[in-house]
Point group: C2
Chain length 363, copies 2
Amino acid sequence: MQRRSFLKKAGLGALASTSIAAAPAVAQSNPKLHWRMASTYGPSLVSLYGSAKAFCSMVEEATEGQFTIRLYGGGELVPGYNVLEAVGNGSVECGQSASYYYYGKDPTLCFDTAVPFGMNARQMNAWMHEGDGLALLREVFAKYNIVNFPMGNTGTQMGGWYRKEINAVADLKGLKMRTAGFAGEVLSRMGVVPQQVPPGDIYPALEKGALDAVEFVGPLDDERLNLQKVAKYYYYPGWWEGSAQVSLYVNTAAFEQLPKHYQAIIRAASRYAGVQLLSSYDAGNAAALRRLIAAGAVLKPFPRDVMDAAFKASNEVYSDFSAKDPQFKKVYENYMSFRDTTLPWLRVAEAAYDNYLGIALAK
Amino acid sequence: MQRRSFLKKAGLGALASTSIAAAPAVAQSNPKLHWRMASTYGPSLVSLYGSAKAFCSMVEEATEGQFTIRLYGGGELVPGYNVLEAVGNGSVECGQSASYYYYGKDPTLCFDTAVPFGMNARQMNAWMHEGDGLALLREVFAKYNIVNFPMGNTGTQMGGWYRKEINAVADLKGLKMRTAGFAGEVLSRMGVVPQQVPPGDIYPALEKGALDAVEFVGPLDDERLNLQKVAKYYYYPGWWEGSAQVSLYVNTAAFEQLPKHYQAIIRAASRYAGVQLLSSYDAGNAAALRRLIAAGAVLKPFPRDVMDAAFKASNEVYSDFSAKDPQFKKVYENYMSFRDTTLPWLRVAEAAYDNYLGIALAK
């Protein structure tokens, strides 16, 4: 905070222009400040990038234009998957990313985004804001010099694009699939061979058969990759991303130096942008799915035995990680306990309502 | 707005005080302001009242304590169901309410909260923030001198408490049920006799048989009424409240007089509080439902023929209202078109995921 004593500077009788610079606390209440935000995402991911922009705009508007944050897309300032490091070491004051990209550094970070058979978007919000989620994850992020804020969710993602039908677990054997992180760990136990491929190379890799399958996000973002032309089977649900939370990272020292009301504005603006993110996906995915199907995508649910095998393999991975990492175990147990206590309620009124309406409207 | 010239008080010369009056906006950026908020709800509705408090606190924090809003529960300043009028005529600057309480004044207002077989909470957010919802409803509220802001959702509500089982539509004939508004209109076409009963009188009325059924909210709020002792059948879903949005009302003139950055803070703080509301219900309902069942509540889905009859009766009411009210028709058509285009997507990945997990965890 940059408080100044107007009396000291004004010297009572000094020039008027000096007095202006030297106002009482209230008069300097919105100090000028400029930050940079590094996002993992570029403008082509309209919902994700758009929500980061909404955050920056809200902070600026709420401070009369005094606190500005300039947004940089993935790769502009730092590589998209280095946002955690860049914010932690203070190269930038803040960032937008999904914490499961840093699985290799610390698998516990995945609970901030998505884990296999984890919570849906409503549950995730409830865990973060009414459960122990935020407090637990703040402890984890503190080690990386970051104060984290939930900033939206993509909702349940799709299970990806496949060149051939998946009729049983056996069809996953040797499947070269673009996936990574926690999902990759589980899928590899099911026979899949995870591959790392940049988005721009996905289409030719599928076309040539260097890849058999690809998971990306959901209809809205997938649409621009045109994958239905080379891998028409579009499977659901993405059981490794029952929802995927996106986070705002703020460098701890930078956050602590902010005036308290700027800190509050960051809290409010991150939720503001978060509501926009999920809304944007929910509206956009619906329209995009329709277009994808018209363009030849064949929509398919994963067979039950694939889901069962995935559920089993996921629980094995959880056990293995919990056995060797006490922090993982602590967050895992709290997370799953919240999932298990909130799901039954959502299966009652919420699911019964949606199910009925889904049937009634399909008539 | 109470702007002060500190220089006048500091006793500086004429030139100085003139320069300060002409100072850039930054020097007086957070003016002192005090508002009153009238809520429909009292502190016993912990989630609803708590979210209004969260809104007021955030506005205060984000303005360095300069803009304070004091919250009054239902009946403290104005009767709980008069909040729309009180904000509109400027008796209070702002309020928290659910717009379907004002069905008698204008049925189009119901689209701001809940209508039979309307959208779930995710869809409602998407319609408000990414669809035409907010713009359309702003037009409606402008007639009442109000600028409305979405401020959360309860999620799908329960269908209420019944003394006897409902096995078919015929069982609704002559049923004395506490309900009102749009739902009451549809239910009366199905044979129900809607009754208005204040919350405090519900228990004795059910006990004595003056009432056969009651719809209130959901497990968290219903629990304190103890209804399982006198009407043990707890039906779901509340098809007249597939979700129920709560709103912040701000008097139009009061809003327009605010500095732009205070307006932005209201936008951000209302979404901030809204996230808290749904999270609080999702966490709280889950725990309360468990306790209610342990206390003797018998959970039951409405039979399919009741749902079908309700769907049919609702559509008839929509047709009738649309035929005589062009504004209702305009909002209705936009709302239902958004419901119908977004539901199929949510029935794919989202529903498949939740369904699978519901089954896997119940094993």
